[in-house]
């Protein structure tokens, strides 16, 4: 079902007075982050965009680029200020500008999902997502799913089951499986296959990815 709360950025008129960051349901937001600081951060992120609006452009249109401009991205419950161009993908922003290199690029066309991040908790391909389109949204990367030295149950299960070889696809696989368990805490093997049907692994770790994810589903969650 389409959830209007989940829709992307609302018009600026709405956001300027909003108390809930756009693009995030209040409930999800409260669950996902410390309320005050992060809430302010998100709003300032959107204002970061608004500053770029050119006065002469028609109502409802904001112009960007082609030159770099500042934005604030909300990544792993923290705000990150950076300069991007319209063409900057989220993957490049993460990897090159923020040095968050856990997110990998392999096919660079959205078909291998090595670049998987969660956008408002949904798995997407960061290589095919413009960084600009993620302003005002919650971005979760592989660096952001461990809490206080405690790795996520999916990560722990991947280690226990040796669900990796070269490891290059592993962050993307983990993110897909983390997202699966958030939506479906008791998946079947078929559900896991479905969740990673866009994740390519050339070393052939799939059987252990399936086993690890099913095992992780039986573990107590380490993070609310």
């Amino acid at each position: 079902m389409s959830d209007p709360q989940r829709s992307p950025k609302e018009p600026p008129e709405a956001t300027s007075t909003a108390t809930t960051p756009p693009g995030i349901s209040r409930r999800g937001f409260l669950k996902g982050a410390g309320i005050t600081a992060a809430g302010t951060a998100l709003l300032s992120g959107v204002q970061g965009l608004s500053r770029e609006a050119v006065a002469s452009t028609p109502k409802g249109v904001k112009e960007f680029g082609p030159e770099p401009f500042p934005v604030t991205l909300h990544i792993n419950d923290k705000e990150h200020a950076l300069q991007i161009e319209p063409r900057t993908t989220l993957a490049d922003a993460l990897r090159i500008q923020l040095n968050m290199t856990g997110t990998k690029i392999s096919c660079d066309r959205g078909v291998c999902s090595s670049c998987t991040v969660l956008l408002d908790r949904m798995p997407v391909n960061s290589c095919m997502t413009l960084a600009l389109d993620t302003v005002g949204h919650q971005i979760t990367t592989i660096e952001g799913i461990s809490a206080n030295e405690q790795i996520h149950p999916v990560q722990a299960a991947f280690v226990r089951h040796d669900a990796m070889q070269c490891g290059f696809c592993t962050p993307g696989m983990v993110m897909s499986c983390v997202s699966l368990l958030e939506k479906n805490p008791h998946p079947t093997e078929a559900d896991v296959r479905y969740a990673v049907s866009g994740n390519l692994c050339r070393c052939g770790t799939y059987p252990k990815v399936f086993a690890a994810t099913l095992d992780a589903a039986t573990q107590p969650a380490s993070k609310a």
Binding site: N99, V111, I151, V159, Q165, C166, F168, P171, C201, G204
Partner: protein, 803 residues
């Protein structure tokens, strides 16, 4: 049994195996055979300095167990830093300019627009190229720039402050070509009037992982060959045969498609060239850089902390390496050059195709009187398409005649690819062996028992014979009535005990009780870090996770290049020897404080003991505090095998259950039982991971993967990861792996690698034989796509089995 003849690695081992020092020796009793089946003791005379004999796995604390992958945390958290992730201060990003036509003379290259593009710091025009075959007589081509022999061949490169600037500037380099006639179809390339890829004979040297070809091979037109090997009298063998099976098999070109593309970060400083490289061989990369730039090896440092898959294609500096280093030297800044996915498909290796005519003659009892294999395959503008390994080495024969031909086409050069030549060769051989069994009315396993004396393979066949999956097989082909037909097929695989003596390590023991191992070896995903940690853990009684493993850096003692499954077999004895020697030094270092002589002390199970019961056992860590120095260390290198004349193989027996949808032509692999040996498995979980991977890569090769070159323009049309099709989560069968722990008494660990033997060799034939069992129709062409399968099913062949 004959040994592999087409691989340079084998030659290296034979030379190294003659190394003998004449030093003091001791005679020890070692476990030999397969526990539960053939285990017994044999005497070996070994150097006196060797550590005590390791018992079989069940009697050990850490070796043979499956502790967590040593760097598992780093990988699942994204902390693992691959070459693609390296960022150095001031680093530039480089992009290649690639030829867009398959055969051309470069007339001129204008880089002026690129040089003035904002952000560009350096431009380099390539004047010598690595990777392809080279003319025996270079005078046949005297051109300033290398002849373009395939679409995607790098011509120049640009380094800029951002990846975008580099990409934009690369597009501004103007290259003028004189197009030359080209050929991309290996059949057309064999015709007398075909356009010539090379104007004369050309050869490609092998790499650490195989590939390349032996010297002195004749060349006619585009046909580089035949490389002829004759043993015994095959003509007579076929006369002596009661039955001859004769068939043609065709396999496609597969690309390695590692998820991390080829690439380097090169940092040229006056005192040292530092290269971060996504490689399977820090040593081979250093060698190539030193050779190319005439630098002392001591001034080249190669670092491979993590690498995202290689499968045989990542050994040297390569064009990305030398170009990045050149640009770094020119600009005075570190330069990163990572290929994009299209370049990865086009220019840095692939598994050659094959077109094989295989004849096998046999007596009524199954004894093979003759095998003849005539093969043509294309390695693009490289060589290495031979595929006779399985025919030569899997079974006993009275005579063997192989003729292998490389057919040059205008495509990127091949590179070693996981078990070079063997998936192709086994696809043919093992289907023909099944045909032979049918012709002789023999059971598939009984026939193999007759012609294969390898004792481990014999055990493995017994395991298969007793498996529920094999017992569920209906020997009658095409027994299922519905459109979806089930079948089970079998194939064996063979790989060789390849070794290199250039495998060394240092082990250090510190006064705080910490231990570390240092070696330049790189972990290609198979888990050598964990394996080394386990060996130290066994020696010092420290949990593997607490052992520091420092590898992937040529600052450490030389490590083996990880190709041909050499790593574990080559390096683990050196590490164990170093750990043992360090332990002896450690005991000498603590002896004074314990008022004992070193000879009275032992270290086992994590405890220091006095053999004369002078004191209660002391934990290793406590004892370390009593060292009379801050650190003791020992370095050891691989010594030759204990029984050097004996040449062993590793392999497996795999069975696959398929469901063939005879209406859609889709083959689903449902279940696989893979029974494999690699000597002593040091970390069974990691070995199983590799076998899973080999099986899956083999399924992917058998059913989906195909490099497609447009016949009219010579460009690869599916140089991506959506139309170049690789097995994904829905294509994965239930895989059961059974490891056959086996001992041959050859080294202080008696361990070996599994990479090549693991699944990929046997998948094609196991699936082919299963499809025959399901449908009564043989598929002799890869990949078995719906188009191929439906075409085969539409023409019920006069199957040889029914003759």
């Amino acid at each position: 049994m004959a040994t592999a003849t087409t691989h340079s690695v084998a030659d290296a081992i034979l030379i190294a195996a003659t190394d003998s020092s004449g030093a003091a020796t001791k005679t020890v009793s070692m476990p030999i055979g397969v526990p539960g089946y053939t285990l017994h003791d044999e005497q070996r005379t070994v150097p006196a300095t060797e550590p005590p004999v390791l018992p079989v796995n069940k009697d050990l604390d850490y070796i043979g167990k499956s502790p967590e992958r040593w760097d598992g945390h780093a990988k699942v958290t994204g902390r693992a830093r691959y070459t693609a992730d390296v960022q150095l201060p001031g680093m530039l990003y480089a992009r290649f300019v690639n030829a867009s036509i398959p055969h051309a003379r470069v007339l001129s290259i204008d880089t002026s627009a690129a040089e003035s593009h904002p952000g560009v710091k350096g431009v380099h025009v390539i004047e010598s190229l690595l990777g392809a075959a080279v003319l025996r007589d270079p005078a046949l081509e005297s051109t300033k720039y290398p002849i373009v022999r395939f679409a995607g061949q790098p011509v120049a490169a640009v380094a800029a402050t951002t990846p975008q600037a580099a990409e934009e500037a690369a597009a501004k380099v103007k290259v003028k070509y004189e197009a030359l006639p080209f050929v991309v179809d290996a059949n057309l390339a064999r015709e007398p009037n075909a356009p010539l890829v090379f104007p004369g004979a050309a050869d490609e040297a092998g790499t650490a992982g195989g590939g390349g070809s032996e010297g002195g091979i004749p060349q006619t037109g585009n046909i580089h060959g035949p490389a002829v090997h004759k043993k015994g009298d095959a003509e007579q063998g076929f006369k002596d045969a009661d039955v001859i099976v004769d068939a043609r098999y065709i396999t496609q070109v597969q690309t390695h498609s590692a998820l991390e593309t080829h690439g380097v970060v090169a940092d040229w400083k006056p005192e040292q060239l530092t290269v971060y490289s996504s490689t399977q061989g820090t040593a081979s990369v250093r060698d190539e850089f030193a050779g190319y730039f005439h630098l002392p090896k001591s001034q080249v440092r190669v670092i491979t902390e993590f690498m995202g898959g290689g499968f045989g294609a990542k050994f040297g500096a390569g064009n990305p390496g030398v170009v990045a280093a050149t640009l770094s030297r020119k600009t005075g800044a570190p330069v990163r050059l990572m290929l994009d996915r299209q370049e990865e498909h086009l220019s840095v290796g692939n598994r050659p195709s094959s077109d094989q005519r295989l004849r096998i003659g046999a007596k009524k009892d199954g004894t093979i009187t003759a095998i003849q294999l005539i093969s043509f395959g294309t390695a693009g503008c490289g060589t290495g398409a031979g595929c006779s390994g399985p025919a030569a080495n899997l079974y006993k024969w009275a005579s063997l005649h192989t003729e292998e031909n490389d057919v040059f086409i205008n495509a990127g050069p091949a590179a070693a690819f996981r078990a070079p030549g063997h998936p192709q060769g086994a696809f043919a051989l093992e289907q023909s062996i099944d045909e032979l069994a049918a012709r002789l009315n023999m059971d598939l396993l009984d026939l193999r028992d007759r012609i294969d004396e390898n004792p481990v393979r014999r055990v493995q066949r017994q395991i298969v014979r007793e498996s529920a999956l094999w017992k569920s097989r209906n020997p009658r082909p095409n027994a299922d009535p519905g459109p979806i037909k089930r079948g089970i097929g079998l194939s064996q695989s063979v790989w060789y005990r390849h070794l290199t003596m250039d495998a060394a390590a240092e082990v250090r023991v510190h006064k705080d009780g910490s231990v570390e191992v240092l070696s330049a070896v790189q972990d290609i995903g198979s888990g050598i870090k964990t394996v080394l940690a386990q060996i130290l853990a066994e020696q010092f009684g420290v949990p593997p996770a607490k052992v520091s493993v420092k590898i992937g850096d040529t600052n450490y003692p030389v490590g083996p290049n990880s190709g041909g499954s050499v790593t574990t077999a080559s390096l683990t004895p050196a590490v164990r020897d170093a750990a043992w020697q360090a332990a002896q030094k450690f005991l000498a270092s603590v002896a004074p404080a314990l008022h004992a002589t070193p000879a009275d002390l032992t270290l086992a199970g994590g405890m220091v003991r006095s053999t004369s019961d002078k004191f209660q056992p002391i934990p290793f860590r406590i004892a370390a505090g009593k060292m009379n120095t801050d650190e003791v260390s020992a370095q050891a290198k691989r010594i030759p095998d204990y029984n050097p004349g004996k040449y062993d193989t590793y392999g497996g027996v795999d069975i696959a259950e398929v469901a063939v949808d005879t209406e859609t032509g889709r083959i689903h692999v449902k279940r696989v039982l893979a029974v494999h040996d690699c000597g002593r498995p040091i970390n069974p979980a990691q070995v199983i991971s590799q076998i899973n991977g080999g099986v899956i890569q083999g399924i992917s090769y058998t059913l989906f993967e195909h490099r497609l070159l447009d016949p009219n323009y010579g460009l690869m049309v599916n140089a991506n990861l959506d139309k170049y099709k690789i097995a994904g989560s829905y294509e994965i069968p239930q895989i059961e792996v059974q490891l056959t722990e086996s001992y041959i008494g050859q080294s202080s660990t008696d361990a070996s690698g599994i990479g090549e033997a693991a699944g990929i060799i046997s998948a094609g034939a196991a699936i082919g034989n299963a499809v025959y069992n399901a449908t009564g129709v043989r598929i002799r062409q890869l990949p078995m796509t719906p188009a191929i399968v439906l075409a085969a099913l539409n023409q019920p062949q006069p199957s040889m089995e029914s003759l």
